[in-house]
Amino acid sequence: MPDFLLEIGTEEIPARMIDSARDELTRRVGDLLQRERLADNPTLQTYSTPRRLAVLASAVSSAQPDITEQVTGPSLKVAYKDGAPTPAAAAFARKLNVPVNSLEKITTPKGEYLGATVKKKGRPAAEILAESLPKEIAGIYWAKSMYWRGKSAERFVRPVRWLVSLLDGEVVPLEFAGIRAGQASEGHRILSPGSLPIGRPSDYSSALAKASVVASAAERQQRIRKALDAATRTIPGARWREDKSLLDTVVNLTEFPSVVLGSFDPEFLALADEVLVTVMRDHQKYFALEDASGKLLPHFLAVLNTDGDPDGLIRHGNERVLRARFNDARFFWETDQKIPLRQRVDMLRAVTFQKDLGSYFDKTMRVQKLGSLISEALRSAGSSVRSGVVHKAALLAKTDLTTELVKEFTELQGIVGGLYAKAQQLDPILPAATAEAIGDAIYDQYKPESMDDSVPRSVEGAVLAIADKADSIAGMFALGLQPTGSKDPFALRRAANGIVKIIAEHKLPLPIAKLFSDARAEYAGSEAEKRFVKDFSFDQAVASFMRERLEFYLRDVRGFAYDVVNAVLAADSDDVVDAIARAEAVREVRGSEDFASISTAFKRIKNILRQARETKKSIAEHLDSDALTEDAEKRLATAIEIASAVRALREEKNYSAALAHISRLRQPVDAFFDKVMVMVDDETVRANRLALLQTLLNEFSTIADFSEIVTEGK
């Protein structure tokens, strides 16, 4: 069976988009082959470089298999009259291009019909591929695409320059972007310019290898790792700093990678590590070298898209660029010290936070107040927070936005502020430890940047980070700019996830609703408030947004089953730490028989109560124990008396003990449903029984709504 190769040759695709596009193309080709019955479970090999995406499918059929199909025609009654075929039968036969006498009788549950068995010839693979692949290529998702042949032509990530499409030795004549597929690929731009014929699909990667292109991304990664190791070995005791995302980037910036070791003047090591690494990694895409203790060494590794640097020219060039960058950084650092952070607060008036929410000066004032409120709340709940540290850190937190260093290296915002705060004597009266704590809080204010990132180290840093994020979320929501669907231009979900993670990991007694009503209140009377959306239920919108984020955190970060999360959050979603404790307790009992049974019973109770309300049956306001008649209901009423104990245990947050109590409800509840009919005709009895169930539900749903628990096999 033949192999099939598709290669899309392009101008350089952005590194960040290559992997997913390659995977999507592979999936599309695989699905197409299966859908069109050209292969079952095709073996797909995938290739990608900055200039190409390719898929090699092995053992593809050269044509679809022929199929025999039974076609149903008119009913027999219509098809034959007096034993002779009617025009209807003749028309059916003509349509299928078979003689009338070859038609057969088909019996279906609906009656007898005229039918025919027809053989459908499978279409050649080349024809189907040529027809369908252009649509698949055009369908690839790109975060950003472009026109190059004018507005009436196609869009793609970058201009497509060649296409190779081969079924064994034959060209599959497809066309995309005005380019007809052929056998000609291209090798490395510089090392092997010109057209590169591909004989057969299976020759693909070896042909490219000869033209200085390592087509497999995985192989390039291996090569780069080896080359990084080899270059590092020339420096005794050194190792290169592992950096997964940088490695992915350079894999996707090269077709034929090699590595060069460069050095810089050790005197630059006086600059902060963060600055050095940012310049090397983010701006130059270099790997940093460190010694066994993790201290930076005055060397770097650059990954090249060529076969080496025998003359040292490339190393020399890269060293020159890095020197200029480091010189710039040092120049900026020194310039910045001329105006200390505390003198920069006022300069924030000229830095926009958001066009309707005012300047960073305004934000600073709000965050400072909000930070104080949070500190107070935490202190009154028994946490120890140095409010003074929060206050001062909040005041200076955004001042680094006015520094040259942050203007140049924006990704260092916060970090630069923290470093400067420590480097500058903020206030001679402050004890050194306090100054250090202020610096750390400023340094950590944007943490966590993702769910994998750590939270601020200190509780003061945590408070500052929460206040900053809550202020942004509150302002944006009030402006009606909440995230919708996949659109979240202000990264509010990330901010909210960060708040949840910080509260959870620092175990802060900080209710969400209060946090956001306080954050919203800081905008009161501001210019920004005039632009807020009218008639908008802010509290509700924020609560449901934050509940979603908490759900995400519990499920995806903490690994709780979704039904446990739903059950726990249905009871309460305002207190993050408490929700986690309850989720842990519920997770413990979730599999037990008692709780499976209780869960089923609670679902039933909810249904009964719902139906009762829907059919306007009255539910007694209070349970009247004397009006209970049956034994089973009396026993259930007695069992419910453990409610006060459960309440006490809940207060103590002793959830396992509380749940152990609740598990004892199983027997009386089950017995109740076995023996007692709730919806009886006697209105008083019925109302009282409904009240019994309502009480049960109310009393025992404060830890979790057990009806949300999914029971096995039901």
Binding site: A15, R189, G317, A324
Partner: protein
């Protein structure tokens, strides 16, 4: 200022012997700054570009010169190359920073539409500068360009040569808020950076601009340092904020007035489309003599309309905005608003320009038939 002129030996003293042998000996003398410009001009002239001269109104980038901003609009193919001094007042460093300039020089190439081998052509242009690509590391890294002030954006790369960004390569998608068709490729070479790289100097001011007849290298600093220092002083310290606002307002008002006037002229002269012509010819009786005369004058009124002057006024606004920004005179609330105002002008000019081009095209055949007036105009160099 500690600036001093170094001798040619001193320039190269930091180089490893291997570097000197392999790099410098291969191209005996690296190109001087002006040789570099000449090579680029020759290269692109050979590839069908009109060689333009720098635009003589302050711009922040070669893109803002009309040879790019306006020429990329509309359907007419065009190829042009030119040096453009680009002024960015806030980037000034009083000549103290070896890598930053208030005014740097770009070589700008527009290829409309881009040929299929546009990347190869670009790489050839590097070879023309004496860069042996086989000995260097070249990468095209994603870098998309956007100018909110111009309502313009494009998709492309920064071209990296041994870790140094030497060119911005952009496929323009929109300009002045108008979707482009055809697309133009824009190549922006950073001339100082490339020369500093070729000459292996760490400071822009040490670039050899030209070697004088007596063999003495004339350095970039000799020619430009004073400029950098004095304009930094002006832009950061001396520019009169109040007057600059006033100037901005005046230029804006004049630009806007022109745009409004164009719209009015336009209204009086409906597009000379076939449909309209037909509609009119059906009712010849209603055409008074006066109206007929006006009709024949209308295309001329449109053609003569100074849309290009309106663009210059818009550029003036942009430059004044940059000066005010460098002076720290633009508050948060003002900033967004002023950018929007200038953008509105740029978008207005772009629209008028496209419209004018269209009108010109539609009326071209009749004009050619022998309008004495048109001939007179062209004879006068207008």
């Amino acid at each position: 200022m500690n600036y001093r002129v170094k001798g040619p030996e001193e320039c190269r003293s930091g180089l490893s012997p291997a570097y000197q042998e392999n790099h410098l000996s291969s191209s005996q003398n690296p190109l001087t700054f002006q040789q570099l410009v000449l090579r680029l001009q020759n290269f692109w002239a050979d590839h069908g570009c009109v060689l333009q001269q720098p635009y003589d109104v302050e711009v922040g980038a070669g893109t803002m010169a009309p040879e790019t901003f306006l020429r990329v609009l509309g359907p007419k193919p065009y190829r042009v190359g030119y040096v453009q001094p680009s002024r960015r007042p806030a980037d000034g460093r009083y000549g103290e920073n070896p890598n930053r300039l208030f005014k740097h020089l770009q070589f700008q190439v527009i290829l409309k539409p881009p040929p299929v081998n546009v990347q190869e052509l670009y790489l050839e242009s590097l070879s023309a500068l004496g860069i042996d690509l086989r000995k260097h590391d070249i990468k095209f890294e994603e870098d998309n360009w956007e100018s909110p002030t111009l309502g313009a954006w494009g998709i492309g790369w920064q071209v990296m040569l041994d870790g140094l960004e030497i060119t911005q390569f952009t496929y323009f998608q929109q300009c002045g808020g108008i979707d482009l068709d055809p697309i133009s490729a824009e190549l922006t070479y950073g001339l100082e950076r490339i020369t500093a790289f070729l000459q292996d100097v760490d400071s822009i001011y040490d670039i050899t601009w030209v070697v004088s007849p007596d063999g003495r290298p004339v350095k970039y600093g000799e020619i430009r340092l004073q400029d950098e220092l004095q304009f930094s002083v002006y832009n950061f310290e001396r520019a009169d904020v109040e007057k600059a606002w006033k100037h901005l307002g005046l230029y804006e008002a004049e630009c806007q007035a022109l745009l409004d006037e164009y719209a009015a002229v336009k209204l009086q002269s409906p597009v000379d489309s076939g449909e309209k012509r037909k509609a009119k010819s059906e009712e010849p009786a209603h055409d008074s003599g006066e109206e007929q005369m006006a009709k024949s004058e209308r295309p001329t009124a449109i053609r003569r309309f100074p849309v290009l002057a309106a663009f210059d006024l818009c550029l003036k606004c942009s430059h004044l905005f940059n000066i005010l920004d460098a002076r720290g005179a633009i508050s948060v609330t003002e900033r967004v608003g002023v950018i929007a105002r200038i953008r509105a002008l740029a978008v207005g000019v772009a629209k008028a320009y496209v419209d004018q081009q269209k009108a010109e095209e539609n009326s071209a055949p009749t004009e050619e038939k022998g309008s004495a007036k048109a001939e007179q105009l062209s004879a006068a160099g207008l």
